[in-house]
């Protein structure tokens, strides 16, 4: 059994840890809110672009399905972008992601896959386990991502796809479903699924819309933007999930530290009481002996 002094020390160190985890929880809360705000702010743009893609695809008709970015590539290989966090202490965020990654790899064991990695944790994990990491994106840090940088990533993926080496391009990221639910998801990035487009509203009969200069030119400009919004959105969702997960983990840690402090304090008090009683007995015993 620990001595009173040791117990006091432990209570103190648990208290220190609690302070740290509480601070981290607060930081995560702030950042979470920031990423959520950005995700909400980016929505009108993404919706507008997606809407335009849908309406123009309707104008172009069936020809869309045969455009280069809408058909599978010539190559056999698959390219996958994995989005993890840079830092730990975010609960099961990364391990859930890696579990999904392993499952996906097992399911696609017959294919050669190249990986692009965003986030240090995934790189550490994957480089140790024989994943063919072709490229690690480190600059800017995931946390500092903005639309411009997301569009650079988007362009990179598109160029790889257009090189003809790949059959398709996938993105693995944690989809943000709710504050307590983040689902690691593999989403097909390229080729674009034409059937998923334009199902958004009933304005399909857009035959008499003026197009300047013409549908094909606009569409060619539109598709890169559309892909950019998808990357940006995936990255923002991953970040939101990460910070929601981190906040949750830190809250749990703080609560656990609270509980532990309570238990330790109980033991400490009992022990202290015991010692006092013992000392009293000694004194009383000593006094008896002297009499």
């Amino acid at each position: 059994m620990a001595s009173v002094k040791e117990l006091r020390q432990r209570i103190k160190s648990v208290g220190n840890i609690k302070q740290i985890t509480r601070a981290m929880e607060m930081v995560a809360t702030t950042k979470l809110r920031r990423f959520q705000d950005r995700a909400i702010a980016s929505r009108p743009y993404a919706e507008e672009i997606a809407g335009l893609v849908g309406r123009l695809a309707a104008v172009l008709g069936d020809g869309v399905q045969d455009l280069p970015l809408f058909v599978q590539g010539e190559g056999e290989r698959i390219l996958m972008l994995v989005v993890s966090s840079d830092r730990g202490l975010c609960g099961a965020y990364n391990s859930n992601l890696f579990r999904e990654l392993e499952a996906w790899r097992t399911a696609n064991a017959d294919k050669t896959v190249d990986y692009f990695v965003y986030g240090r944790k995934a790189f550490q994990y994957m480089s140790k386990r024989g994943f063919d990491v072709k490229r690690v994106i480190e600059d800017p840090r995931l946390e500092d991502i903005d639309y411009r940088n997301a569009s650079i990533v988007a362009r990179m993926l598109k160029l790889e796809f257009e090189s003809g080496e790949y059959n398709d391009v996938q993105i693995l990221y944690s989809k943000f479903e709710s504050m307590a639910k983040y689902v690691p998801t593999v989403a097909q990035y390229l080729p674009i699924d034409a059937t998923a487009l334009g199902a958004d509203d009933g304005e399909k009969q857009s035959g008499d819309v003026l197009l300047e200069p013409d549908a094909q030119t606009i569409f060619d400009h539109l598709i890169p933007r559309f892909l950019e919004t998808r990357v940006y959105n995936s990255l923002l969702e991953a970040l939101t999930s990460e910070y929601a997960s981190r906040r949750f983990a830190m809250k749990n840690a703080t609560d656990a530290a609270d509980d532990m402090q309570g238990v330790l304090r109980g033991i400490y008090n009992r022990k202290r009481q015991e010692n006092i009683t013992k000392e009293l007995l000694d004194i009383v015993g000593g006094a008896e002996a002297v009499r």
Binding site: Y45, I49, R148, S206, V209, L210, E212, H221, R225
Partner: protein, 141 residues
Amino acid sequence: MADSITLRVITPDSIVLDTEASSVQVPGLDGSIGILARHAPMVTALDAGDLHWTADGVEDDMFVSGGFAEVRANTVRVVTEASERPGDIDIERATKAAERAKERLKDRRVEEGSSEFDVLRAEAALRRAMMRVFVAGKVNR
């Protein structure tokens, strides 16, 4: 206002502008396009340039870096990656960017075998920079 059209400028970071205008000019790929109230539905691709509009008799400008404009239900939606009000443009930076782009173009034209892509990019950068300077010049009217 009897004859007005809603002008909305949307970027990935926010809705930059949402106003009623009596006329709007967007920098289309093949030149500026004027839009008045009750314009027919239209979709156009934009070049980097000057978005110009008149609201309550006051003319105003904004730099847009490209993107699209869609006219639908008496609303002009300008969807662009980046936009700047004339007062917010860093003229010095834009001028320098223009210089850099010119240099790059000069080098590339001389150098044989440089990719067409690079030239296109430098040209786009040059155009963006020049349009920034142009729009910035409108602030002191």
